[in-house]
């Protein structure tokens, strides 16, 4: 059904988008933005590498104590549930990028919202079922550690506060990144609502997706190291 050729004003934003004037063409701008995001992702990976190195070295010092502490303080079921939630959100983010490329605006927004909701679930589960009970029982890192297991089944050893220090700091920094990811996803969903993204212009969806996948990647490593092993 041929309609009068759409005038510029009626075309959606993603059709009329032209690259910034200091770039030579659209392709360069898209590739440049993606390279910039990948470089930013490496800085995030190196940030978390500090946490993993701290974990590795302190684990070398207190090998068995860490396993006992992890088994006692952390509930692996919650960890596994959170991992599943994040994996699903990763899948929906990848789907939203696909939807943008195929100009399926509806699917794009739905997938973005699902991912954001999954992120929120992850945070709620972490705060509600993990952080708050630990805070109540004083299972805090370092000096303010005053854990006393009433059933007496578990004798805390001196390196528990160190394990909890690694646990609290690593998951807190990761949680912060999940929060920022959720806000970014909501921002992209809001822009998708205004038809900003289409086959010719979906840079923001792609890059926020990459960031979200990184957050998921870090959790893929954090979960077994802290909860299981």
């Amino acid at each position: 059904m041929t309609t009068a050729t759409p005038t510029a004003s009626t075309l959606p934003y993603h059709e009329t988008y032209t690259h910034q004037e200091h770039w030579r063409n659209q392709e360069d701008e898209f590739e440049g933005a993606k390279l910039g995001v990948w470089l930013f992702l490496t800085t995030e990976i190196l940030l978390f590498s500090g946490m993993f190195c701290g974990y590795a070295i302190l684990r070398i010092f207190y090998l068995e104590h860490f396993t006992a502490a992890s088994a006692h303080y952390l509930n692996w079921k919650i960890g596994a549930a959170n991992t599943a939630v994040l994996l699903i959100s990763s899948f929906t983010v990848a789907m939203s990028v696909r939807a943008a490329q195929l100009n399926k605006q509806g699917q794009l927004i739905i997938n973005l919202l699902i991912s954001a909701v999954c992120g929120v679930i992850f945070l709620v589960v972490k705060l509600g079922w993990e952080y708050y009970p630990k805070y109540i029982h004083h299972e805090l890192p370092g000096k303010n550690f005053a854990y006393a297991d009433h059933t007496g089944a578990y004798i805390a050893n001196a390196s528990d506060p160190v394990f909890l220090a690694i646990y609290w700091v690593a998951t807190a920094i990761h949680g912060f990144h999940v929060l920022v990811g959720v806000l970014l996803l909501l921002w992209v969903a809001w822009r998708a609502g205004k038809r900003h993204f289409g086959p010719k212009h979906y840079t923001a969806v792609e890059n926020v997706g990459l960031y979200w996948h990184l957050v998921d990647l870090v959790w893929i490593f954090l979960f077994p190291l802290l909860y299981l092993v």
């Binding site: 030579r24 063409n25 392709e27 590739e31 993606k34 390279l35 990948w38 470089l39 992702l41 490496t42 990976i45 190196l46 590498s49 993993f52 190195c53 590795a56 070295i57 070398i60 010092f61 090998l63 396993t67 692996w76 596994a80 991992t83 599943a84 994996l87 990763s90 899948f91 990848a94 789907m95 990028v97 696909r98 490329q101 195929l102 004083h138 303010n144 550690f145 005053a146 006393a148 009433h150 007496g152 004798i155 805390a156 050893n157 001196a158 390196s159 506060p161 010719k200 997706g209 990459l210 996948h213 998921d216 990647l217 893929i220 490593f221 979960f223 077994p224 190291l225 299981l228 092993v229």
Partner: protein, 177 residues
């Protein structure tokens, strides 16, 4: 680089055509990866809980599974397979630095007692702190009897001086003030 003019001067502006053919991932491949990742998570939980091949063995096994999962996420979800090679090079460069960082630090930390056993001896909290922890536990257990909800955090004494003599086993009693 030398003086002759660059024969192949690029056309000033590439004709404005379709912004390059971007790979579009199929639904089937994305969903297959999701299912694979969930299975791997279940696998890692299973191996951690039921397969016991020593502290280090479990650690290495969990890491291998995590690396497999991570490489799938990177390759397909993050389109690294169908992207410019530069992005993958950037990622590999970063991972090699992470390995360098952890590896070299671990070399120093693990070879502490290599030449001189005394350097292995750890003055740190273990020998002294246990006394504090047990004291805290008895106190908490006693208070628990009167259903005290809040007990001041005195798990650790403020500062515990390391024992004076390296071979003195009994932890030094520090008065609580």
């Amino acid at each position: 680089m030398n003086a002759h003019a660059h024969a192949h001067a690029h056309a000033a502006e590439m004709p404005h055509e379709d912004p390059g053919h971007h790979h579009i991932a199929s639904f089937r491949s994305l969903f297959a990866v999701l299912v694979f990742l969930l299975i791997m998570t279940a696998l890692t939980v299973f191996t951690a809980k039921y397969v016991h091949i020593g502290e280090i063995g479990n650690l290495v096994l969990a890491l291998i599974i995590a690396v497999i999962k991570a490489s799938f996420v990177c390759a397909i979800f993050m389109h690294l397979l169908h992207d410019k090679l530069l992005n993958s090079v950037v990622l590999l460069l970063c991972l090699s630095l992470v390995v360098c960082f952890i590896g070299f630090t671990a070399i120093d930390m693990t070879s502490r007692g290599a030449l001189d056993p005394t350097r292995e001896h750890f003055i740190g909290p273990p020998p002294v702190a246990e006394a504090e922890i047990n004291a805290a536990i008895e106190k908490a257990a006693a208070e628990h009897g009167e259903h005290a909800t809040e007990h001041a955090g005195e798990g650790f004494s403020e500062e515990f001086a390391p024992p004076d003599q390296p071979d003195k086993a009994a932890p030094e009693q520090t008065e609580h003030h």
